[in-house]
């Protein structure tokens, strides 16, 4: 696949360079997060999605400004791909007042209401009902929007998932169920938790369009998401994408990875989504070594700026602890 979504060849190369840049932004941001965690600058739980960038970037590439996104606790990539600044995300992980959630959420609870990015949910499957409600409201208001809900294969075992797919199908809601199947629910391999591991097949049993996608190929993800979103916007009801991907790093920073082979991880690393697209563009002559280095340098500088800003940012005053428990109404 060398050409995406019927673009002219030159525009297609530029577009794929944009996709590559977005994946590199997420990768370098998260690699820095891991370093900062080791340096005790970031605390709490930190779940990075290194290896899964193609899913976040490919899906977000087809969304409009008015669309809504609901995500999980492994959501830095979704947030950045949705357009949230590295500054607001990094400051949140530092627990600073300039963080998107003013230090009350941390890594797992990133929000940006202006971009309709509704978190950042640390209860597996807990975001799915929110996505149903967002889509229901948009449908009742006849807004032509789609709500994307990201969740993992682990959520498939939760009752809330099945309640929500049924509701979306029953009410023909404009929801894209974006299942990031990375084969592990924390340390539990999918075959140890799911009696039937073909997730798209099971989702289809609710009477919705559902198909598997190579989640390491950003172009394949984008094309599948585009097809799904077109169908949803046309009133075709919800769609389910099983995005087959893999997390290269541990579940969180506390994970000794006793549950999987290093060889398995190495095999998946051969399909690194950034390397795949880099090699493809390089082979086509669309990306020189100099351009690649320049891209990495620019992104590194962006990450550096976010870290410097987070370091310098003020803490939320402790006396403001109880603000926002209830809505603050204008005096």
């Amino acid at each position: 696949m060398t050409q995406t979504l019927d673009r002219e060849p030159a525009a297609d190369v530029r577009h794929r360079l944009d996709l590559l840049r977005e994946m590199v932004r997420i990768r370098l941001f998260e690699e820095r997060c891991v370093e900062l965690y080791s340096a005790a600058k970031i605390r709490g739980f930190l779940h990075v999605a290194i290896g899964e960038e193609a899913v976040a970037v490919g899906v977000n590439a087809v969304l409009d400004e008015g669309d809504a996104v609901v995500s999980t606790y492994r959501e830095h990539g979704h947030a950045i791909a949705r357009g949230m600044s590295m500054d607001s995300v990094m400051a949140e992980m530092y627990g600073k007042a300039t963080g998107c959630s003013r230090g009350r959420g941390g890594s797992m609870h990133l929000f940006d209401v202006g971009r309709r990015f509704y978190g950042g949910n640390a209860i597996v499957a807990g975001g799915l009902p929110l996505a149903i409600g967002l889509a229901l409201a948009d449908k009742m208001r006849m807004r032509p929007t789609v709500t994307v809900c990201f969740f993992g294969d682990g959520a498939f075992a939760e009752g809330e998932f099945h309640e929500c797919v049924n509701l979306a199908a029953l009410w023909r809601l404009p929801v894209l169920f974006a299942c990031e199947n990375n084969l592990y629910a924390m340390g539990t391999a999918i075959a140890r938790a799911q009696a039937e591991t073909d997730l798209a097949l099971r989702a289809a049993s609710y009477g919705i369009a559902a198909w598997p996608v190579d989640g390491m190929d950003v172009v394949a993800v984008e094309e599948a998401a585009d097809r799904a979103v077109d169908r949803i916007r046309a009133g075709g009801g919800p769609c389910f994408l099983e995005l087959r991907t893999y997390r290269f790093r541990a579940h969180s920073m506390y994970d000794p990875e006793r549950y999987r082979d290093k060889a398995e991880v190495a095999r998946w690393r051969e399909r690194d989504p950034i390397d795949l697209l880099t090699h493809q563009l390089t082979a086509e002559g669309g990306l020189s070594a100099e351009a690649r280095d320049a891209m990495a340098a620019e992104v590194t500088a962006e990450v550096d700026r976010a870290v410097a800003a987070a370091e310098a940012a003020p803490l939320e005053p402790a006396e403001d602890l109880e603000r926002f428990v209830y809505t603050e109404t204008e005096a």
Binding site: G99, S101, F111, T327
Partner: protein, 340 residues
Amino acid sequence: MTTLSTGATPVPAATGTVETTYREALREALREALREDDRVFLMGEDVGMYGGCFAVSLGLLEEFGPERVRDTPLSESGFVGAGIGAALAGLRPVVEIMTVNFSLLALDQILNNAATLSHMSGGQLHVPLVIRMTTGAGRQLAAQHSHSLEGWYAHIPGIKVIAPATVEDARGMLWTALEDPDPVLLFEHGTLYTMTGTLPRDAGHVDITRAAVRREGRDVTLVSYGGTLHKALAAADVLAGSGVAAEVLDLRSLRPLDDATIAASVRKTHRAVVVDEGWRSGGLSAEVSARITEQCFYDLDGPVERVCSAEVPIPYAQHLEQAALPQVDQVVAAARRVVG
């Protein structure tokens, strides 16, 4: 589009009063909300074609259609969470859960999402959602339909908890709850649906932050809410016969608690009995009692008494069920002990 946020409730010309019931008052409140604000919709199990498990929404489907009186599958977590999502997107959902026991299936959504999203997002998100549910015992429905768990919910910062005990509050609390930018849980006691009362024809919204003195007295304060209010009032009648003037307080709001009204009453009477259909251990009665002690210790003439449900799952057989619930004679006895 008329919206609730204008605060401009259309008030028809007052033409006397109407006889109504708690159930009809709740229905009229829903009808008014659906009529006046097109962001409002009702959602829950059997709220539409069936007319509501307790017939509160009977007739509303015919009037407002299936989009706005929306039957759901038996998916409490799914549709309560959908209510939260719809509220995030600017609507004003009213979600009905058949009984508080069933709400436990949606507790994840209520606690982990509805109650947290505003704070956890640094004030970016708001959840203007109302969740209505039936609570309480007295109808021989046994342990999975009869509990009083509103005290649990009152434990949770980020939500508000209200309990209409009168026909007037059944009529007026919903509108005010829908005007609130945060999630409000409204507990309807199952024995009150058939209670009758008189309302002004133009009855409208009521404040939902203050406790109400339902009967004035100088000797002892009986603190109650919801279904137990009527037991406290009956106990006050009995006590009056023996010369004890009991003041009866209806909490109305269980979160936040109206400390000022509670304290003002206890400072006057110097004695208090808390009547709560919840269990005693770790319950709402413990919270009220502790606050009285914190705020009025030197005004008290004796320890605060509590009359609560027995610490058992509520049983089916009538005599067992009644033995488990707070009763008028227990309230009377407790009041006499503190009056001395």
